[in-house]
Amino acid sequence: MKITKQDRIGIVLFLAPALLLILVFFIVPILSVGVTSFFKWNGITAPEFSGWQNYAKIFSDKVFWRSARNNLIWVAGACLVQVPLALIMAMVLSTKPRGWKIFRTVYFLPQVISGIAIAMLWSAVYNSEFGLLNGLLKLVGLGDSTRNWLGDPKTAFPCVLVYGLFYIGYFMVILMAGISDIDESYYEAATIDGASRLQMEWHITIPLIRYSIMTCVTLAAVYALRTFEQLYLLTNGGPANRTSVLVLYLYNQMRNNNYGGANASSMMLILTGTLVIIVVRRLFAEKRR
């Protein structure tokens, strides 16, 4: 089938709308964030070039470093706890135990509920007076351990971070798709050689779904970096900025009409994200050899 003149016109016409939207909402915004991070800008008057000043300011701000640290803890938690748990469950459910489809449905459920509704649910769990968690503690005789989970500087950040780590459905489904593509003859051969179940998972499953694991780790890191809703709702960064993250930090700067500073923070977020993706790809590429 030859490309006719009409086809050529059609291709241009059909690519144009998508290209326009991507240009306006992805490419130009990213470039503008980069450029205006070097300007003093309040969103009202004209931006004024100020060199590295915005960066110098955020780098000397304790809240920025606290937020960055929290984001990195979040990335680590997602990559080192959530993804491995998802991997274990993917292996378990791939053996197709009775009712595995129902469990898959259940594990995946939190993924379709909005982050804000899930956060509201957990605010009810952590509620200081009549929440589920304090209620459970009292029920088992640990009434002394009850506390205002989200108001206590010691527990606030762990509480906001931890609940999402055990929602493993999304990564589990990606990994299960990877496992279902593995040729069964590998396992048959290994069984004949007398390999144990664990050995098979370690030496056959994991290496063969390496690419799916990489995808999960990358996504986990990207999601961890763009965390916002649950903190905005549950703690708004408090108490004493203990639970701030970069997106919340830049949101607050924007609120204070410091657009230049907000964009410098955005740049740090975009650069960290890019760096993390490159590092993850490197890590998994090395193992390939």
Binding site: I3, D7, A18, L21, I22, K96, L109, V112, C216, L219
Partner: protein, 286 residues
């Protein structure tokens, strides 16, 4: 593989232990996901007094009044309607634009088509929340701040990368011979798109649409940033209202959370296959 594993597990003592451990973790994760939801559902049907008295009791009489309270106090009906119109329009526009681009890339060999695909799909990895300032500036420049059109346009755009990945992947799986007969019969570029490729891509389009709809329905960050007046609020903004208002009326607040969750759960019940395949096919290419 199943047979082998089962056979092994059935024999030894360690096999039995393995089996028990397996079921313990399977059930633990299920309880973790479902228990808070069920607890919330039950609590939302109690009176405040019952709840304060014992957070784990069942309601003596189910208090459906809590749901009526939640609905009327926050004007949830209007917000649900807003969410529906935004999500429907943004999904239709998104899938149509993505289908056009996918058709051009998937069905024709022209120079640089993979570059176009890379430009379209790379957006999956962009931390969108970092673009608050530019999005806010764009919509204030074109005078669309605090309007639902801003959300419709933005959602159409930010869902494009994943939609193109899903739809192109599907169109690639259709054999080229399909169009050849039509081509010989003189069916042109547009005719082949509307009469052949689009109908045949139905599965792919539904997958992309389901995914996009859920994303739009659940979106909070930009709905919060770009709209402010009550008549422009979506349901996700609406449920946040309760955190500020009902500091003592817990049961109505819990009812509101359930109201916000129910549509997603129902959608999931009906479109589970599409949702799961949409979310994973997007991930595989990323």
């Amino acid at each position: 593989m199943e047979g082998i594993v089962k056979g092994k597990a059935g024999n030894s003592a360690s096999g039995v232990l393995c089996l028990i451990l397996k079921w313990v973790i399977i059930l633990l994760f299920a309880v973790y996901t479902l228990f808070p939801l069920l607890w919330l559902l039950i609590t939302s049907l109690k009176t405040n007094a019952e709840y304060f008295n014992n957070p784990f009791s069942f309601p003596a009489v189910p208090q459906f009044q809590n749901y009526i309270n939640a609905f009327s106090q926050a004007n949830l009906g209007q917000m649900i309607w807003n969410s529906v119109t935004v999500a429907v329009i943004a999904t239709a526009a998104n899938v149509f634009v993505a289908a056009m681009a996918s058709y051009a890339i998937s069905r024709f060999d022209f120079k640089g088509k993979e570059i176009f695909f890379a430009i379209f799909s790379a957006g999956v990895m962009v931390p969108l929340n970092a673009l608050m300032v530019p999005y806010f500036t764009i919509f204030s420049r074109i005078g669309l701040l605090d309007s639902m059109n801003a959300l419709r346009i933005l959602y159409t755009a930010i869902g494009l990368p994943i939609a193109v990945i899903i739809i192109r992947g599907f169109m690639d799986s259709l054999p080229r011979e399909i169009e050849e007969a039509a081509y010989i019969d003189g069916c042109g570029f547009f005719g082949r798109f509307f009469q052949i490729i689009l109908p045949l891509s139905k599965t792919g389009l539904i997958t992309a649409a389901t995914f996009q709809f859920i994303t739009c329905w659940n979106e909070f960050v930009y709905a919060n940033l770009l709209t402010s007046s009550p008549q422009n609020k979506t349901i996700q903004i609406g449920i946040r209202y309760f955190t500020n208002q009902f500091t003592t009326d817990y049961v109505s607040m819990y009812a509101a959370i359930i109201i916000a969750i129910v549509p997603s759960v129902l959608g999931y019940a009906f479109f589970q296959k599409q949702i799961i395949s949409g979310m994973t096919s997007g991930a595989v290419k990323g």
